[in-house]
Each structure stands twice: as structure tokens, then as C-alpha cells.
Amino acid sequence: MSIEKPTDEQLIREFQGGSAAAFDEIVRRYRNPLFSFIYRILNDPAFTEDLLQETFIRVWTNRDSYREVARFSTWIYTIAGNLAKSELRRQKIRRWTSLSGSSSSDADERPLEIADESSDPHRDYERRNIQQRVDHEVAKLPMVFREVIILRDVQELSYEEISEILKIPLGTVKSRVNRARLRLQKRLKDLV
């Protein structure tokens, strides 16, 4: 007999009822996807971890404001996305007002940890090279294209969810995804 995994909505309901274990499960489920999402927007591991932490703190403190009219994933991605965009704006101001123009984080130089690393170092090396190229090109996209392509093709969210998270019409999401793919296709033609 298989035990069905509780849905996200069931977990948040349990958490609203006072279950800390339900919150732990939410953290376990969303920790890696949200870290990847925020990192691909910000490109800074230390800030990414801070924002990931901030996202979960907001879920913890605002748990009662979640209503089941939207999916839980939509809610948590909206929080993370808004935090990431605010941080990007702050970083722009910081760069503009800083004489040195450097980032304040010391943790930037640490290599990123990959959730599903294989035991084949050669394969991992190749993967890392491709991954760095792809991340670099995605980071160069304008924000309107970057966020939709990350949510659709990296995070594999549905068009409807993306439309709810970004609060833009479904047609706009689809056309932005297509345009983002076309741009990336030009820049990464040697990889595809």
C-alpha cells in the first residue's frame, strides 16, 4: 500500500494549524527549486541564500495570509520573485553609489552546489561548463524575458501559473517565452 504524499496546499493548511513538521516539509520541497530560481535571476550565491531564507521567513510569518484561492507554488514563487527583483534594483543603486563598484559578498567565489551531481567527474566538468554558458546567457536577457524563461523552461511551471505569478496575461507570457527562446537560440547555437 502506498502512502500518498500530501499536496502543498494540505501542508500549508497543516502549518496554519500549528504543525512545524509541515513547514519543514515545505522547506524540503521548495529549497532547491527556489534556490535555482533566485540564483538564475541574481547570479550571486550569497544573496541568493539570503533571499531564499527571507522567502521562507515570509511564509512563516505570513502563513495566515495565504488563502487557497491560488496554488501554494504560485504564492511562494511570487514572494521569491518579488524579493529577487527588489534585490536587483537595490544592487543597481549600490553599484551606482559605490566608488569601487564591487559586490559586498565574500561568498561569491564559492562554487555552486548542484543538487543532482553524478559520480562521473568528467561528465560533471562538461556539464558545469555548459551550465555556466547557459547561466551567463540567461543572465544577459532583459528581465521581462529572463523571468518567464526561467519559470517556464527551468522551473517547468505552467503558463497559467507564470501568468499568475507575474500578473501578466497568458498571451503575453507565451509570446515572451517564444522571444526569449529565439534570443537564446541565437546566442547558444553551438550548444543546440
Partner: protein, 175 residues
């Protein structure tokens, strides 16, 4: 999963002939009726495939513990524990604003101040007699002042030419 997502996820299999005919027909029918999917080409789907196969990153070990401590810190003093030390933007922006304001003030002063402006000192203190010229703009006074200026300039020129002639004379006489 709606039709567009289903189309995208099975597109590559379809193009590589890995779907049965019924599934292929369903996708083809959708592509005919959907503007978004009909515009998708092999290249875009390859990009989509490449991105889907990108690794999932994860935070450093011990994230859960750090999060727990941070939540405790928020509940105790309202502030989470951060990896990156936040440097407040207020002092930087204040300094930048002050710099811009003083630059602007100096710029305005330089552009608007008349040549020879004496600032807050009374003009008479700097150039005796000038007060009258500024106050009285009648043609006679103007003429008088211009005359006096010219005469001063002439006398200076006379002195200079005298000097020059004298010097020249000396040189000439020396030859």
C-alpha cells in the same frame, strides 16, 4: 497540463518519431489551431530542452539550521541572520545627494554671477566711484566714465610707447 504545455513537452519526441500516430495527430491538430505552438520551431524547442536539463542548484549544507536560527532571531528581535552584511544605502545616498547639490550650487553660481562680481562686499569698497556709475546711468555720466577709461588706457599706452620708443631708441642708438 494544458495543450500548449503538452505540445512543448512532447515536441522533440514527436519530431524524432517517438510518438505513435494518434499522439502525433493530436499534436499536429493542436499546432494548426494554436498561434503560439505553430510558431515554435525546432531551434526553440532545443533551447527549451537544454534549459530543462540544466542542473538544479542547492543552498550550502546546513541551510535548514541557519533558517531555523534566523526565524528565532526574527521572532526575538525582528531581524534575520544574513550571509551578506547589509550596508545601509542611506549614508551613501545622502553623501551622493550632498555632492550633487554642492556641485549644482557651484555650477549655478559660476553661470549666473556677473563678471567681476564682488560678492557680498560693497562695490564702493572695491572700486571707489563705481557706485555712482552703477546708480547713475545717464549718457553724460556714461560718456564721462568711458572717456576716463579711454584716457586712462591712452595714458597707459603713451607710457608704454614712450618706453618702447625709448628702448628702441636705445637699441638703435647702440647700433
Amino acid at each position: 497540463m494544458n495543450d500548449c504545455e503538452s505540445f512543448e513537452s512532447r515536441y522533440i519526441d514527436w519530431k524524432q518519431g517517438r510518438l505513435n500516430s494518434a499522439e502525433g495527430e493530436t499534436l499536429a491538430r493542436h499546432a494548426v489551431n494554436c498561434r503560439h505552438c505553430s510558431s515554435i520551431g525546432q531551434g526553440e524547442m532545443n533551447i527549451s530542452h537544454l534549459l530543462r536539463n540544466q542542473p538544479v542548484y542547492r543552498p550550502r549544507n546546513g541551510f535548514e539550521l541557519r533558517l531555523e536560527n534566523s526565524i528565532k532571531a526574527v521572532e526575538n528581535n525582528g531581524k534575520p541572520i544574513r550571509l551578506v552584511k547589509e550596508v545601509s544605502l542611506i549614508p551613501r545616498l545622502t553623501a551622493l545627494g550632498a555632492g550633487l547639490a554642492s556641485g549644482l550650487a557651484v555650477g549655478i553660481f559660476v553661470l549666473t554671477a556677473p563678471v567681476g562680481d564682488t560678492g557680498t562686499m560693497p562695490i564702493s569698497a572695491v572700486a571707489p566711484g563705481a557706485t555712482q556709475l552703477v546708480a547713475d546711468n545717464s549718457p553724460q555720466v556714461k560718456e564721462k566714465s568711458e572717456d576716463s577709461l579711454f584716457s586712462r588706457r591712452d595714458s597707459a599706452a603713451k607710457v608704454d610707447s614712450h618706453y618702447l620708443v625709448g628702448d628702441y631708441g636705445k637699441v638703435v642708438s647702440g647700433r
